[in-house]
């Protein structure tokens, strides 16, 4: 592949963004859609020929990058399809400028081979996140935008630090980011590893740098939430992590275990927070964090099967999470609220959206035969494979992480039961008349739902054999292949279908149906008799140990940003107290400073 061809991925969307500034909105939409479709086509054609062989110093694409690039294009195209109708009027123009721009930045990150370029695009994609956050309409939007910007921007500092430590000693034209194979045991590289880990975790939303995700999800336009934290940022963050674990570093066992533990902890902490949310967006935001944990576990463990599972989970997650966010978006656009207490019983009026959301919810909870199950299953198997060979202590450690991961998926299921119940099932509060979402919206979610099903049912035949195995071979882990291919979701579905068909057949043979109101002990079906489901997990919240943790989480003790800002204010307040404006005091400071300086020099000498 010629490097100039790669430039299309950068300049075409950027140019479209500039043109969109001047076009009427309708034309801008059409132009963006056409561009993205073309880029998708380019990404597909790029896939077979992706290799680093012929790339330039600055841009280059290997299998992993091409793989991620492909999904970045698919997701952004589908989300654009969703955004064609329904974006708020006042931000529509700006939205369609920002959208291709974001795609361009994201593609830039994936295609840069040179560290400086990588850094610039990484930073720019963070800026676009900030700009999207500013488009939110409620009062929290600007606070969320600030929080996002500070966390993402702060992590960029670590990225710079890490990159400098890695390659700073080399000439500029050798600042490549592939096949460094450094050992993080050396203190310098260890620091570099940690810095890069922080950057990737902040981007992907891993613990403890995840807190911007739910805030961003709560207040930004829902399309941008589906685009960035749910899809592109996940792709970028895990892409960096995968790079780190394979080509940048050669990591030892303890480091792997630490990364796996971070993953496990991310899963369980975020999903616990998700359980107790009352707002659909925030809940999905926390899930966007929790699911990152599986990818971190898979990619971080270094086991080929788990690594492949982690990559697979990454694309699966982008698919079903975008699907869920977009479905919630449809609901929100029809009803005007994403609070669980205001919703309910929408499955009747929005059946298509309900089916898509159901598929998404089952997929994210890891219910066979959908895609989420298959990748989780690969990760678990890989982790167990790894555990088998470890010494006893590590074995237990790994098993604990595994338990957290499996239990995390039960908790995920639980919170999605709440989601489905509160939004689509249960009983309508009777406050709004709701219609099905417009065609572009359910078409977009429909494509994603179908992808969920296809990637689950034909997991081995399609995504694994066609996409992930080549990536694994390219990364030097061809043995991932030999584990795949024993579980046949299709066979299971076939068996299921036979019995289900028999049951339904019997039902249709003997049934006599009558329609009636709900039975409430003789009381009429009044809309006030309903359970919103938003308090489903109150008992969990009030468990003796958990209640303290939840109380602490409510006070944002676990939030790096909030604690940081508190600390900063406290520190600056303390500094202000040292500046009363008295001249003698300042003179005293100067003398004290000189004294200390002298002491230091003396000791040093």
């Amino acid at each position: 592949m010629e490097p100039s061809a790669l430039l299309t991925f950068l300049f075409l969307p950027a140019a479209v963004a500039v043109i969109n500034l001047f076009l009427p909105v309708r034309a801008a939409k059409a132009l963006t859609l056409l561009t993205l479709l073309y880029l998708l086509y380019c990404a597909i054609t790029l896939w077979p020929s992706a290799s680093l062989g012929s790339s330039s110093v600055y841009l280059g694409v290997d299998r992993l990058a091409a793989f991620v690039l492909l999904f970045a294009q698919i997701l952004s195209t589908v989300i654009l399809l969703f955004s064609l109708k329904g974006v708020r009027r006042d931000i529509e123009r700006f939205f369609f400028v920002l959208f291709p721009l974001t795609v361009a930045f994201c593609n830039g990150v994936l295609l840069s081979r040179h560290a400086l370029l990588f850094l610039i695009f990484w930073g720019l994609s963070g800026v676009s996140l900030y700009l999207f956050a500013l488009l939110g309409k409620d009062a929290e939007a600007s606070a969320a935008a600030k929080k996002t910007f500070i966390i993402i921007g702060g992590s960029d500092v670590f990225l710079i630090l890490g990159l400098v430590l890695l390659i700073g000693s080399r000439p500029v034209d050798l600042w490549w980011l592939d096949k460094l194979n450094l050992r993080p045991e050396a203190p310098l590289y260890w620091l570099a590893f940690v810095s890069l880990l922080i950057a990737s975790l902040a981007k992907a939303g891993g613990f403890p740098l995840h807190t911007w995700v739910p805030d961003f999800s709560k207040s930004s336009p829902i399309e941008s939430v589906a685009l960035l934290p749910a899809s592109l940022d996940k792709l970028l963050g895990i892409f960096l992590l995968a790079r780190m674990m394979t080509s940048l570093f050669v990591v030892g066992l303890t480091v792997k275990m630490i990364v796996v533990s971070i993953g496990a902890f991310t899963i369980i902490s975020a999903v616990m927070m998700a359980l107790s949310q009352h707002n659909g967006r925030r809940m999905l935001g926390y899930h966007a964090v929790s699911q990152v944990g599986y990818m971190i576990m898979g990619v971080g463990s270094g086991n080929p099967l788990a690594f492949a599972g982690g990559l697979f989970h990454m694309i699966n997650h982008t698919i079903y999470k975008s699907n869920l966010f977009l479905s919630l978006g449809s609901v929100e656009k029809q009803t005007g609220s994403s609070e669980f207490d205001d919703l309910g019983g929408l499955a009747k009026s929005m059946p298509l959206t309900f089916i898509m959301a159901l598929v998404g919810a089952l997929a994210i909870s890891g219910i066979p035969p959908f895609n989420g199950f298959f990748s989780k299953w690969m990760i678990y198997q890989g982790l167990l494979e790894t555990a088998k060979t470890l010494p006893v202590g590590y074995q237990l450690w790994m098993l604990i992480c595994l338990i957290l991961a499996i239990f995390g998926s039960a908790l995920t299921l639980a919170s999605f039961v709440k989601f489905l119940h509160a939004v689509f099932l249960g009983r309508n509060p009777g406050t709004h008349k709701v219609r099905e979402a417009p065609i572009n919206q359910w078409l977009a979610t429909g494509i994603l739902a179908i992808l969920c099903a296809i990637f689950g049912l034909f997991a081995v035949a399609l995504p694994l054999k066609k996409l992930i195995v080549p990536v694994m071979v390219d990364l030097g882990m061809p043995e991932a292949m030999q584990f795949i291919g024993f579980f046949h979701p299709l066979l299971l579905l076939g068996l299921f279908a036979v019995v289900f068909g028999l049951g339904i057949l019997l039902y249709f043979l003997v049934r006599t149906v009558r329609y009636d109101d709900v039975y409430l002990g003789g009381q009429p079906a009044d809309p006030r008799f309903r359970i919103t489901g938003s308090d489903f997990y109150r008992e969990v919240r009030e468990m003796p140990v958990l209640n303290k943790i939840f109380a602490a989480a409510d006070k944002k003790y676990c939030d790096v940003y909030e604690m940081g800002s508190k600390g900063t204010f406290a520190f600056s307040g303390w500094l202000q107290k040292l500046h009363p404006g008295l001249l003698p005091l300042y003179i005293l400071y100067i003398f004290l400073g000189l004294l200390i300086l002298g002491l230091v020099i003396n000791i040093g000498g």
Binding site: Q381, A414, L425, L495, V498, D516, V540
Partner: protein
């Protein structure tokens, strides 16, 4: 799908066998419970009569519910249970399986709860909603301990993640139940399946006197018949799973069959005794019990298993 597979699915370890054995064991449950309470109890065919009678009744569908989901839920759960029983049965009786089928099974077992919850909340009835909430909380409660005991079996089998392999290891090296970790895991497993089958004291989700049978409240006619059947089918699935994981599986000679039946009956009888000697616990007590008592104990079992004890 070969003819043999259809036989597996519909006749022997699958549909017919599970249903008939389940309904018969369901009679044992009712009869023994009755004897506990100084009553006579129903005749042997009572569960079959009940099932047939429900098939002939009228189906009432709640007007503003999600009709298709409401009707499909029991059949989804039914089909899933048949698939699960086929999986377990094939591993148990034919020693076949695929790699990692235990994980698949753990997730498939959740589908029953999901179907129950979705079917119940599709009606919009408050009691069904409450029951759905309770059902999922029960799932959370017992799932943690259940994962642990599955892992104990996996670890003890030398990290084999297949049902058939776990059984084969036990056939070769003796049942896990003979070791300390195995017996702890088995006992915790017994309580877990009590909770998974929603038998008292864990019938919180379907508590009749509190929330009017919860998610099943609005069901009538054939769908109810299938929920009824599902409930009794679990009487075969879970004890079989427990035997497979910890109690040495099944060997196909005369004594083996007798021995297997005795093990199975023993587990069922213990479950019935548990059922009849305890009041229904509250949902938060159940959560607390499983998370603060059953979880640490099963964790000890896991540690012991890793240490090879």
């Amino acid at each position: 799908m070969s003819l043999q597979m259809v036989f597996y699915l519909l006749v022997f370890p699958g549909l017919l066998f599970t249903a008939v054995l389940g309904l018969s064991i369901g009679w044992l449950d009712r009869k023994l419970s009755a004897r506990f309470q100084y009553r006579v109890g129903p005749p042997f065919l009572q569960n079959f009569y009940d099932f047939i009678k429900l098939l002939g009744k009228e189906t009432i569908v709640v007007r503003d519910s999600v009709h298709s989901l409401f009707i499909a839920a029991p059949f989804v759960a039914f089909a899933m249970l048949v698939c699960i029983s086929t999986l377990i049965g094939v591993a148990l009786f034919y020693k076949q399986g695929f790699l990692g089928d235990l994980f698949v099974l753990m997730y498939l077992l959740m589908i029953y709860s999901i179907a129950l919850i979705l079917g119940g909340s599709a009606t919009g009835n408050v009691y069904s909603s409450l029951g759905a909430g309770r059902e999922i909380k029960m799932l959370l409660a017992d799932e943690l301990a259940f994962i642990l005991i599955c892992l104990v079996a996996i670890v003890k089998a030398g990290y084999e993640i297949g049902l058939a392999e776990i059984a084969a290891v036990q056939q070769a090296r003796g049942a896990f139940i003979a070791s300390p970790s195995g017996i702890i895991a088995f006992l915790i497993g017994l309580i877990c399946i009590q909770a998974k089958m929603a038998l008292p004291p864990f019938n919180i989700a379907e508590a009749e006197t509190e929330i009017v049978e919860g998610p099943l409240m609005e069901y009538s006619g054939p769908p109810l018949a299938f929920w009824y059947l599902n409930h009794f089918m679990m009487f075969t699935i879970y004890p079989f799973l427990l035997i497979l994981l910890f109690w040495g599986g099944f060997s196909a000679n005369g004594l083996g069959i007798l021995w297997f039946s005795l093990k199975y009956l023993l587990i069922v009888v213990v479950m019935i005794i548990l059922k009849n000697t305890n009041p229904r616990v509250r949902i938060d007590s159940a959560l607390r019990f499983f998370w603060r008592i059953a979880f640490p104990i099963s964790f000890i079992a896991l540690v012991l298993a890793v240490l090879g004890v």
